[in-house]
Amino acid sequence: MKRIYLDNAASTPILPEVLRSMIEANKNNYGNPLSIHEEGRRAKLSLEKARSEIADLISCEKDEIIFTNGGTEANNLAILGIAGEYGEKYKKPKIISSAIEHKSIIKPLEYLEKKGFKIEFVGVDKNGKINLNQLKKYIDKQTILVSVMLANNEVGTIQPMKEISKIISKTHAMLHTDAANHYLDFNVKNLGIDLMTINGGKLGGPKGTGLLYVKKGIKISPIIFGAKQERGMRAGTENLPGIIGLSKAIEINQKRLAGNVKKLREIRDYTIKNVLRAIPYSILTGDPKNRLPQIASFIIPGTEGESLVLMLDRRGVSVSTGSACNSLSLKPSAVLLAMGFSQEIIHGSLRVSLGEDITKKQIDYFVSELRKIVIRLREISSFKSWKTK
Protein backbone atom coordinates (compact mmCIF):
# COMPACT_ATOMS: atom_id res chain seq x y z
CA MET A 1 0.00 0.00 0.00
CA LYS A 2 1.14 3.51 -0.78
CA ARG A 3 2.00 5.44 2.37
CA ILE A 4 -0.26 8.32 3.34
CA TYR A 5 1.92 11.31 4.19
CA LEU A 6 0.01 13.70 6.46
CA ASP A 7 2.98 15.66 7.82
CA ASN A 8 3.41 18.37 5.20
CA ALA A 9 3.77 21.05 7.89
CA ALA A 10 7.01 19.34 8.94
CA SER A 11 8.38 19.04 5.42
CA THR A 12 6.84 19.00 1.97
CA PRO A 13 7.81 16.75 -0.93
CA ILE A 14 9.39 18.81 -3.68
CA LEU A 15 7.01 19.93 -6.44
CA PRO A 16 7.84 18.47 -9.89
CA GLU A 17 7.97 21.95 -11.48
CA VAL A 18 10.39 23.09 -8.77
CA LEU A 19 12.61 20.08 -9.29
CA ARG A 20 12.67 20.61 -13.07
CA SER A 21 13.70 24.24 -12.66
CA MET A 22 16.51 23.21 -10.34
CA ILE A 23 17.93 20.42 -12.49
CA GLU A 24 18.74 22.86 -15.28
CA ALA A 25 20.43 25.28 -12.85
CA ASN A 26 22.40 22.48 -11.19
CA LYS A 27 23.64 21.22 -14.55
CA ASN A 28 24.54 24.39 -16.35
CA ASN A 29 24.50 27.33 -14.00
CA TYR A 30 27.45 26.60 -11.77
CA GLY A 31 29.26 29.93 -11.82
CA ASN A 32 29.74 32.16 -8.81
CA PRO A 33 27.58 35.28 -9.15
CA LEU A 34 30.51 37.37 -7.89
CA SER A 35 32.79 36.29 -10.78
CA ILE A 36 33.08 38.59 -13.78
CA HIS A 37 33.54 35.91 -16.44
CA GLU A 38 30.69 34.52 -18.50
CA GLU A 39 29.76 31.70 -16.08
CA GLY A 40 29.71 34.20 -13.24
CA ARG A 41 27.66 36.74 -15.17
CA ARG A 42 25.18 34.07 -16.21
CA ALA A 43 24.78 33.01 -12.56
CA LYS A 44 24.36 36.64 -11.50
CA LEU A 45 21.69 37.16 -14.15
CA SER A 46 19.73 34.08 -13.02
CA LEU A 47 20.04 35.10 -9.37
CA GLU A 48 18.69 38.58 -10.03
CA LYS A 49 15.98 37.22 -12.31
CA ALA A 50 14.78 34.94 -9.49
CA ARG A 51 14.94 37.85 -7.07
CA SER A 52 12.83 40.05 -9.39
CA GLU A 53 10.28 37.31 -9.90
CA ILE A 54 9.89 36.81 -6.14
CA ALA A 55 9.68 40.57 -5.60
CA ASP A 56 6.78 40.75 -8.08
CA LEU A 57 5.07 37.76 -6.47
CA ILE A 58 5.17 39.19 -2.95
CA SER A 59 4.72 42.86 -3.98
CA CYS A 60 8.05 44.26 -2.92
CA GLU A 61 11.21 45.57 -4.54
CA LYS A 62 14.09 43.30 -5.38
CA ASP A 63 16.53 44.87 -2.96
CA GLU A 64 14.12 44.21 -0.12
CA ILE A 65 14.87 40.48 -0.31
CA ILE A 66 17.70 38.70 1.51
CA PHE A 67 18.11 35.04 0.62
CA THR A 68 18.90 32.76 3.56
CA ASN A 69 19.46 29.11 4.29
CA GLY A 70 15.86 28.45 5.37
CA GLY A 71 13.29 29.77 7.80
CA THR A 72 15.32 29.41 10.98
CA GLU A 73 18.11 31.60 9.62
CA ALA A 74 15.65 34.21 8.34
CA ASN A 75 13.98 34.37 11.78
CA ASN A 76 17.35 34.65 13.52
CA LEU A 77 18.40 37.37 11.09
CA ALA A 78 15.19 39.33 11.69
CA ILE A 79 15.44 39.22 15.48
CA LEU A 80 19.20 39.51 15.94
CA GLY A 81 19.64 41.81 12.92
CA ILE A 82 17.13 44.38 14.21
CA ALA A 83 18.40 44.04 17.78
CA GLY A 84 21.97 44.57 16.57
CA GLU A 85 21.13 47.62 14.50
CA TYR A 86 18.66 49.44 16.77
CA GLY A 87 19.19 47.99 20.25
CA GLU A 88 21.99 50.34 21.23
CA LYS A 89 19.84 53.41 20.69
CA TYR A 90 17.65 52.52 23.69
CA LYS A 91 18.28 52.21 27.40
CA LYS A 92 16.27 49.00 27.77
CA PRO A 93 15.19 47.97 24.27
CA LYS A 94 12.07 45.83 24.16
CA ILE A 95 10.97 43.15 21.72
CA ILE A 96 7.47 41.74 21.84
CA SER A 97 6.48 38.36 20.45
CA SER A 98 3.74 35.80 21.06
CA ALA A 99 3.55 32.72 23.27
CA ILE A 100 3.07 30.39 20.27
CA GLU A 101 6.12 31.20 18.14
CA HIS A 102 8.52 28.73 16.60
CA LYS A 103 11.74 27.95 18.50
CA SER A 104 13.75 29.89 15.91
CA ILE A 105 12.04 33.04 17.26
CA ILE A 106 11.90 32.09 20.96
CA LYS A 107 15.56 31.06 21.26
CA PRO A 108 17.14 34.23 19.81
CA LEU A 109 14.78 36.25 22.03
CA GLU A 110 15.90 34.32 25.11
CA TYR A 111 19.47 35.01 24.07
CA LEU A 112 18.73 38.75 23.81
CA GLU A 113 17.03 38.71 27.20
CA LYS A 114 20.31 37.56 28.72
CA LYS A 115 22.04 40.43 26.90
CA GLY A 116 19.78 42.98 28.62
CA PHE A 117 16.78 43.27 26.27
CA LYS A 118 13.28 43.33 27.68
CA ILE A 119 11.28 40.52 26.08
CA GLU A 120 7.51 40.11 26.36
CA PHE A 121 5.38 37.26 25.04
CA VAL A 122 1.74 38.11 24.31
CA GLY A 123 -0.74 35.39 25.27
CA VAL A 124 -3.33 33.73 23.04
CA ASP A 125 -6.96 32.71 23.46
CA LYS A 126 -8.33 29.13 23.37
CA ASN A 127 -8.25 29.22 19.55
CA GLY A 128 -4.64 30.40 19.38
CA LYS A 129 -5.40 34.00 18.35
CA ILE A 130 -3.12 36.55 19.98
CA ASN A 131 -4.49 38.92 22.59
CA LEU A 132 -4.50 42.31 20.87
CA ASN A 133 -5.27 44.26 24.05
CA GLN A 134 -2.27 42.73 25.77
CA LEU A 135 -0.15 43.57 22.73
CA LYS A 136 -1.28 47.21 22.96
CA LYS A 137 -0.43 47.27 26.65
CA TYR A 138 3.05 45.87 26.12
CA ILE A 139 4.07 48.36 23.42
CA ASP A 140 5.98 51.34 24.77
CA LYS A 141 8.57 53.83 23.57
CA GLN A 142 11.38 51.33 24.12
CA THR A 143 9.78 48.75 21.82
CA ILE A 144 11.84 48.28 18.68
CA LEU A 145 10.27 45.15 17.25
CA VAL A 146 7.12 43.07 17.36
CA SER A 147 7.32 39.56 15.88
CA VAL A 148 4.13 37.52 15.43
CA MET A 149 3.85 34.45 13.24
CA LEU A 150 1.39 34.68 10.36
CA ALA A 151 -0.06 31.23 10.99
CA ASN A 152 0.70 28.67 13.64
CA ASN A 153 2.35 25.48 12.45
CA GLU A 154 0.86 23.23 15.16
CA VAL A 155 -2.79 24.28 15.15
CA GLY A 156 -3.07 26.26 11.91
CA THR A 157 -4.61 29.42 13.38
CA ILE A 158 -4.04 32.47 11.15
CA GLN A 159 -3.32 35.69 13.03
CA PRO A 160 -5.15 38.95 12.25
CA MET A 161 -2.00 40.52 10.78
CA LYS A 162 -3.78 43.58 9.36
CA GLU A 163 -5.16 44.43 12.80
CA ILE A 164 -1.75 43.87 14.36
CA SER A 165 -0.20 46.06 11.67
CA LYS A 166 -2.71 48.82 12.44
CA ILE A 167 -1.71 48.76 16.10
CA ILE A 168 2.02 48.78 15.33
CA SER A 169 1.78 51.50 12.69
CA LYS A 170 0.80 54.01 15.37
CA THR A 171 4.12 53.36 17.12
CA HIS A 172 7.69 53.48 15.89
CA ALA A 173 8.16 49.72 16.43
CA MET A 174 8.79 47.46 13.44
CA LEU A 175 6.65 44.42 12.66
CA HIS A 176 8.11 41.05 11.65
CA THR A 177 6.08 38.01 10.71
CA ASP A 178 7.24 34.42 10.44
CA ALA A 179 5.36 33.19 7.36
CA ALA A 180 7.15 29.84 7.17
CA ASN A 181 4.07 27.93 6.07
CA HIS A 182 2.39 26.78 2.90
CA TYR A 183 -0.79 28.45 1.60
CA LEU A 184 -0.21 31.87 3.11
CA ASP A 185 -0.55 35.02 1.04
CA PHE A 186 2.94 36.51 1.01
CA ASN A 187 1.81 39.90 -0.33
CA VAL A 188 3.74 42.20 2.02
CA LYS A 189 1.71 45.28 1.06
CA ASN A 190 -1.58 43.61 2.01
CA LEU A 191 -0.11 42.31 5.25
CA GLY A 192 1.33 45.66 6.27
CA ILE A 193 4.49 44.21 7.76
CA ASP A 194 8.09 45.43 7.78
CA LEU A 195 9.92 42.12 7.79
CA MET A 196 8.81 38.63 6.75
CA THR A 197 10.28 35.13 6.78
CA ILE A 198 9.57 32.64 3.96
CA ASN A 199 10.77 29.03 4.11
CA GLY A 200 11.15 27.05 0.86
CA GLY A 201 11.22 23.61 2.51
CA LYS A 202 7.61 24.00 3.66
CA LEU A 203 6.30 25.17 0.28
CA GLY A 204 7.16 22.23 -1.90
CA GLY A 205 10.43 24.03 -2.58
CA PRO A 206 13.98 22.88 -1.86
CA LYS A 207 15.17 22.36 1.74
CA GLY A 208 17.62 24.88 3.05
CA THR A 209 16.14 27.78 1.12
CA GLY A 210 14.30 30.82 2.37
CA LEU A 211 14.34 34.55 2.53
CA LEU A 212 13.85 37.52 4.75
CA TYR A 213 11.92 40.46 3.37
CA VAL A 214 13.17 43.73 4.86
CA LYS A 215 11.27 46.90 3.96
CA LYS A 216 13.33 49.67 2.40
CA GLY A 217 14.70 52.09 4.97
CA ILE A 218 15.08 49.44 7.67
CA LYS A 219 18.64 48.43 8.45
CA ILE A 220 19.70 45.10 9.84
CA SER A 221 23.05 43.88 11.16
CA PRO A 222 24.33 40.68 9.56
CA ILE A 223 24.65 37.52 11.64
CA ILE A 224 26.87 35.72 9.14
CA PHE A 225 30.07 37.53 8.15
CA GLY A 226 32.20 37.12 5.05
CA ALA A 227 32.06 38.42 1.49
CA LYS A 228 29.52 41.01 0.36
CA GLN A 229 26.69 38.84 -0.96
CA GLU A 230 23.11 40.04 -0.37
CA ARG A 231 24.25 43.66 -0.08
CA GLY A 232 26.46 42.76 2.85
CA MET A 233 23.60 41.41 4.94
CA ARG A 234 24.17 37.70 4.36
CA ALA A 235 27.61 36.42 3.46
CA GLY A 236 28.16 33.15 1.61
CA THR A 237 27.91 32.13 -2.04
CA GLU A 238 24.27 32.10 -3.04
CA ASN A 239 22.53 28.73 -3.42
CA LEU A 240 21.46 29.52 -6.96
CA PRO A 241 19.61 26.29 -7.84
CA GLY A 242 17.87 26.55 -4.47
CA ILE A 243 16.89 30.17 -5.04
CA ILE A 244 15.53 29.32 -8.50
CA GLY A 245 13.51 26.48 -6.94
CA LEU A 246 12.30 28.78 -4.16
CA SER A 247 11.10 31.31 -6.72
CA LYS A 248 9.13 28.58 -8.52
CA ALA A 249 7.65 27.33 -5.22
CA ILE A 250 6.50 30.83 -4.23
CA GLU A 251 4.97 31.30 -7.68
CA ILE A 252 2.97 28.07 -7.33
CA ASN A 253 1.91 28.97 -3.78
CA GLN A 254 0.54 32.34 -4.88
CA LYS A 255 -1.22 30.78 -7.88
CA ARG A 256 -2.88 28.12 -5.75
CA LEU A 257 -4.04 30.71 -3.24
CA ALA A 258 -5.65 32.70 -6.03
CA GLY A 259 -7.77 29.59 -6.63
CA ASN A 260 -8.61 29.59 -2.92
CA VAL A 261 -7.27 26.00 -2.50
CA LYS A 262 -10.88 24.91 -2.41
CA LYS A 263 -10.31 21.19 -2.67
CA LEU A 264 -7.71 21.24 0.10
CA ARG A 265 -10.04 23.12 2.43
CA GLU A 266 -12.76 20.60 1.67
CA ILE A 267 -10.49 17.65 2.53
CA ARG A 268 -9.36 19.43 5.71
CA ASP A 269 -12.94 19.98 6.85
CA TYR A 270 -13.78 16.40 5.90
CA THR A 271 -10.86 15.22 8.07
CA ILE A 272 -11.95 17.37 11.01
CA LYS A 273 -15.57 16.26 10.78
CA ASN A 274 -14.69 12.57 10.55
CA VAL A 275 -12.10 12.51 13.31
CA LEU A 276 -14.41 14.33 15.72
CA ARG A 277 -17.20 11.94 14.81
CA ALA A 278 -15.18 8.72 14.98
CA ILE A 279 -13.10 9.41 18.10
CA PRO A 280 -15.11 9.96 21.28
CA TYR A 281 -14.03 12.99 23.31
CA SER A 282 -11.60 14.22 20.64
CA ILE A 283 -11.08 17.97 20.52
CA LEU A 284 -10.28 20.21 17.54
CA THR A 285 -7.39 22.58 18.32
CA GLY A 286 -6.94 25.96 16.69
CA ASP A 287 -9.49 28.30 15.18
CA PRO A 288 -12.32 26.30 13.56
CA LYS A 289 -12.59 28.68 10.57
CA ASN A 290 -9.63 31.00 10.41
CA ARG A 291 -6.99 28.34 9.88
CA LEU A 292 -4.51 27.10 7.29
CA PRO A 293 -6.25 25.03 4.59
CA GLN A 294 -3.89 22.07 5.11
CA ILE A 295 -3.94 21.69 8.89
CA ALA A 296 -6.39 19.63 10.95
CA SER A 297 -5.18 19.35 14.55
CA PHE A 298 -6.62 17.54 17.52
CA ILE A 299 -6.24 16.47 21.10
CA ILE A 300 -7.25 12.90 21.83
CA PRO A 301 -7.47 12.68 25.63
CA GLY A 302 -6.41 9.42 27.25
CA THR A 303 -3.79 8.69 24.60
CA GLU A 304 -0.14 9.62 24.25
CA GLY A 305 1.09 11.15 21.00
CA GLU A 306 4.24 9.12 20.41
CA SER A 307 2.28 5.88 20.70
CA LEU A 308 -0.34 7.27 18.29
CA VAL A 309 2.31 8.32 15.77
CA LEU A 310 4.17 4.98 15.92
CA MET A 311 1.02 2.90 15.60
CA LEU A 312 -0.25 4.98 12.67
CA ASP A 313 3.21 4.76 11.10
CA ARG A 314 3.02 0.96 11.16
CA ARG A 315 -0.29 1.23 9.32
CA GLY A 316 1.29 3.44 6.67
CA VAL A 317 0.15 6.89 7.86
CA SER A 318 2.52 9.71 8.86
CA VAL A 319 1.33 12.38 11.31
CA SER A 320 2.96 14.33 14.13
CA THR A 321 2.35 15.18 17.77
CA GLY A 322 3.19 17.85 20.34
CA SER A 323 3.56 15.24 23.08
CA ALA A 324 6.47 15.66 25.49
CA CYS A 325 7.64 12.12 24.75
CA ASN A 326 8.15 13.01 21.15
CA SER A 327 10.43 15.97 21.81
CA LEU A 328 14.10 15.98 22.67
CA SER A 329 13.40 18.42 25.50
CA LEU A 330 10.66 16.12 26.90
CA LYS A 331 8.45 19.18 27.25
CA PRO A 332 4.90 19.17 25.92
CA SER A 333 3.79 21.64 23.25
CA ALA A 334 4.20 25.24 24.47
CA VAL A 335 1.60 26.29 21.89
CA LEU A 336 -1.14 24.08 23.35
CA LEU A 337 -0.15 25.07 26.90
CA ALA A 338 -0.46 28.76 25.94
CA MET A 339 -3.90 28.01 24.51
CA GLY A 340 -4.94 26.78 27.94
CA PHE A 341 -5.04 23.00 27.52
CA SER A 342 -3.91 20.91 30.50
CA GLN A 343 -0.61 19.01 30.28
CA GLU A 344 -2.24 15.60 30.76
CA ILE A 345 -4.32 15.91 27.61
CA ILE A 346 -1.66 17.72 25.54
CA HIS A 347 0.24 14.42 25.53
CA GLY A 348 -2.53 13.24 23.21
CA SER A 349 -2.11 15.97 20.59
CA LEU A 350 -2.14 14.99 16.94
CA ARG A 351 -1.52 17.09 13.85
CA VAL A 352 -2.61 16.19 10.35
CA SER A 353 -1.10 18.39 7.65
CA LEU A 354 -2.41 17.61 4.20
CA GLY A 355 -0.94 17.73 0.73
CA GLU A 356 -3.00 18.40 -2.39
CA ASP A 357 -2.79 14.77 -3.50
CA ILE A 358 -4.66 13.43 -0.45
CA THR A 359 -8.06 11.90 -1.22
CA LYS A 360 -11.18 11.36 0.89
CA LYS A 361 -10.61 7.64 0.58
CA GLN A 362 -7.18 8.00 2.18
CA ILE A 363 -8.69 10.08 4.98
CA ASP A 364 -11.33 7.38 5.52
CA TYR A 365 -8.55 4.82 5.94
CA PHE A 366 -6.62 7.10 8.32
CA VAL A 367 -9.70 7.76 10.47
CA SER A 368 -10.68 4.10 10.69
CA GLU A 369 -7.13 3.09 11.68
CA LEU A 370 -6.93 5.96 14.15
CA ARG A 371 -10.17 4.82 15.75
CA LYS A 372 -8.84 1.29 16.29
CA ILE A 373 -5.57 2.61 17.70
CA VAL A 374 -7.28 5.01 20.10
CA ILE A 375 -9.55 2.24 21.40
CA ARG A 376 -6.50 0.04 22.00
CA LEU A 377 -4.36 2.75 23.63
CA ARG A 378 -7.22 3.82 25.86
CA GLU A 379 -7.63 0.19 26.88
CA ILE A 380 -3.94 -0.20 27.72
CA SER A 381 -3.86 3.18 29.47
CA SER A 382 -3.94 3.53 33.25
CA PHE A 383 -5.09 7.13 32.90
CA LYS A 384 -8.87 6.95 32.72
CA SER A 385 -9.96 10.02 34.63
CA TRP A 386 -9.59 12.39 31.63
CA LYS A 387 -13.26 11.93 30.83
CA THR A 388 -14.21 13.87 33.92
CA LYS A 389 -11.77 16.75 33.24
Partner: protein, 146 residues
Protein backbone atom coordinates in the same frame (compact mmCIF):
# COMPACT_ATOMS: atom_id res chain seq x y z
CA UNK B 1 22.46 -2.06 16.06
CA UNK B 2 21.12 1.10 14.47
CA UNK B 3 24.40 1.44 12.57
CA UNK B 4 24.20 -2.10 11.22
CA UNK B 5 20.78 -1.31 9.85
CA UNK B 6 21.92 1.88 8.19
CA UNK B 7 24.63 -0.11 6.45
CA UNK B 8 22.10 -2.62 5.21
CA UNK B 9 20.08 0.31 3.90
CA UNK B 10 17.08 -0.46 6.08
CA UNK B 11 15.42 2.49 7.76
CA UNK B 12 16.05 1.97 11.49
CA UNK B 13 13.06 2.05 13.83
CA UNK B 14 12.76 4.40 16.82
CA UNK B 15 13.52 1.64 19.37
CA UNK B 16 15.17 -1.77 19.09
CA UNK B 17 13.32 -4.94 18.01
CA UNK B 18 12.56 -6.18 21.53
CA UNK B 19 11.01 -2.84 22.51
CA UNK B 20 9.13 -2.76 19.21
CA UNK B 21 7.70 -6.22 19.81
CA UNK B 22 6.53 -5.39 23.35
CA UNK B 23 5.03 -2.10 22.17
CA UNK B 24 3.01 -3.62 19.36
CA UNK B 25 2.25 -6.88 21.23
CA UNK B 26 2.10 -5.95 24.90
CA UNK B 27 1.90 -8.97 27.27
CA UNK B 28 -0.40 -9.20 30.29
CA UNK B 29 -2.16 -5.85 30.14
CA UNK B 30 -5.51 -5.61 31.88
CA UNK B 31 -8.01 -5.66 29.03
CA UNK B 32 -11.45 -4.11 29.12
CA UNK B 33 -13.01 -7.60 29.39
CA UNK B 34 -10.97 -8.51 32.45
CA UNK B 35 -11.75 -5.40 34.48
CA UNK B 36 -13.59 -6.55 37.61
CA UNK B 37 -12.87 -10.20 36.76
CA UNK B 38 -9.13 -10.51 37.16
CA UNK B 39 -8.43 -11.89 40.62
CA UNK B 40 -5.73 -9.97 42.48
CA UNK B 41 -4.56 -9.42 46.02
CA UNK B 42 -2.13 -6.58 45.45
CA UNK B 43 -2.39 -3.28 43.60
CA UNK B 44 0.22 -0.56 43.08
CA UNK B 45 0.89 2.45 40.89
CA UNK B 46 3.58 4.98 39.97
CA UNK B 47 3.89 8.19 37.91
CA UNK B 48 1.17 10.64 36.93
CA UNK B 49 -0.52 11.74 33.72
CA UNK B 50 0.82 15.31 33.93
CA UNK B 51 4.35 14.03 33.31
CA UNK B 52 2.93 11.78 30.63
CA UNK B 53 3.69 8.39 32.17
CA UNK B 54 1.61 6.45 34.67
CA UNK B 55 1.67 2.71 35.47
CA UNK B 56 -0.67 0.48 37.44
CA UNK B 57 -0.08 -3.15 38.45
CA UNK B 58 -2.49 -5.77 39.72
CA UNK B 59 -0.82 -8.89 41.17
CA UNK B 60 -2.04 -12.28 42.23
CA UNK B 61 0.43 -13.42 44.89
CA UNK B 62 0.29 -16.99 46.13
CA UNK B 63 -0.11 -16.48 49.91
CA UNK B 64 1.80 -19.70 50.75
CA UNK B 65 4.84 -19.37 48.51
CA UNK B 66 4.74 -15.55 48.28
CA UNK B 67 5.39 -15.84 44.57
CA UNK B 68 3.77 -13.60 41.93
CA UNK B 69 1.64 -16.06 39.97
CA UNK B 70 -0.29 -13.65 37.73
CA UNK B 71 -0.06 -10.01 36.93
CA UNK B 72 -1.86 -7.40 34.89
CA UNK B 73 -0.96 -3.79 34.17
CA UNK B 74 -2.10 -0.61 32.51
CA UNK B 75 0.20 2.14 31.28
CA UNK B 76 -0.38 5.65 30.02
CA UNK B 77 2.67 6.78 28.10
CA UNK B 78 4.90 6.56 25.09
CA UNK B 79 6.16 3.48 23.25
CA UNK B 80 9.03 2.81 25.64
CA UNK B 81 6.76 3.14 28.69
CA UNK B 82 4.35 0.56 27.30
CA UNK B 83 7.18 -1.79 26.29
CA UNK B 84 9.01 -1.53 29.63
CA UNK B 85 5.87 -2.28 31.62
CA UNK B 86 5.09 -5.25 29.38
CA UNK B 87 8.63 -6.61 29.81
CA UNK B 88 8.44 -6.21 33.58
CA UNK B 89 5.17 -8.16 33.66
CA UNK B 90 6.96 -11.02 31.91
CA UNK B 91 9.94 -10.84 34.28
CA UNK B 92 7.90 -11.12 37.48
CA UNK B 93 5.72 -14.01 36.30
CA UNK B 94 8.09 -16.18 34.23
CA UNK B 95 9.52 -19.51 35.55
CA UNK B 96 6.78 -20.01 38.11
CA UNK B 97 6.86 -16.41 39.31
CA UNK B 98 9.23 -14.23 41.30
CA UNK B 99 9.19 -14.23 45.07
CA UNK B 100 8.30 -10.93 46.68
CA UNK B 101 11.86 -10.62 47.93
CA UNK B 102 13.18 -10.90 44.39
CA UNK B 103 10.54 -8.63 42.86
CA UNK B 104 11.09 -5.87 45.37
CA UNK B 105 14.75 -5.72 44.34
CA UNK B 106 14.10 -5.14 40.62
CA UNK B 107 15.83 -1.98 39.42
CA UNK B 108 15.20 0.05 36.23
CA UNK B 109 18.52 -1.24 34.85
CA UNK B 110 17.26 -4.85 35.12
CA UNK B 111 14.31 -3.95 32.90
CA UNK B 112 16.54 -1.99 30.54
CA UNK B 113 18.85 -4.97 30.22
CA UNK B 114 16.00 -7.25 29.23
CA UNK B 115 14.76 -4.65 26.74
CA UNK B 116 18.21 -4.36 25.19
CA UNK B 117 18.41 -0.67 26.09
CA UNK B 118 16.41 2.53 25.50
CA UNK B 119 17.43 6.00 24.27
CA UNK B 120 19.00 7.94 27.18
CA UNK B 121 16.32 10.61 27.47
CA UNK B 122 13.62 7.95 27.80
CA UNK B 123 15.06 5.99 30.71
CA UNK B 124 14.13 8.30 33.54
CA UNK B 125 10.50 8.84 32.58
CA UNK B 126 9.43 5.62 30.98
CA UNK B 127 10.86 2.99 33.32
CA UNK B 128 8.58 3.38 36.33
CA UNK B 129 7.20 -0.14 36.48
CA UNK B 130 9.59 -1.28 39.23
CA UNK B 131 8.17 1.47 41.47
CA UNK B 132 4.62 0.41 40.71
CA UNK B 133 5.46 -3.24 41.52
CA UNK B 134 7.17 -2.19 44.78
CA UNK B 135 4.14 -0.09 45.65
CA UNK B 136 1.91 -3.13 45.03
CA UNK B 137 4.08 -5.38 47.18
CA UNK B 138 4.20 -2.79 49.98
CA UNK B 139 0.42 -2.58 49.90
CA UNK B 140 0.15 -6.40 49.96
CA UNK B 141 2.50 -6.81 52.91
CA UNK B 142 0.69 -4.09 54.82
CA UNK B 143 -2.69 -5.74 54.15
CA UNK B 144 -1.36 -9.17 55.19
CA UNK B 145 0.12 -7.91 58.46
CA UNK B 146 -3.10 -6.11 59.40
Amino acid sequence: MAEDKIKKNNIPWVYNDIVKDHFFNPRNFLSEKEIGKFKFNAFGEAGNPVCGDMMKFWLWIDPKTEKIKECRWQTFGCGSAIASTSMLSVMVTENGGMTLDEAIKIKPRDILERLGGLPDQKIHCSVLGDKAIRNAIDNYLRDVSN
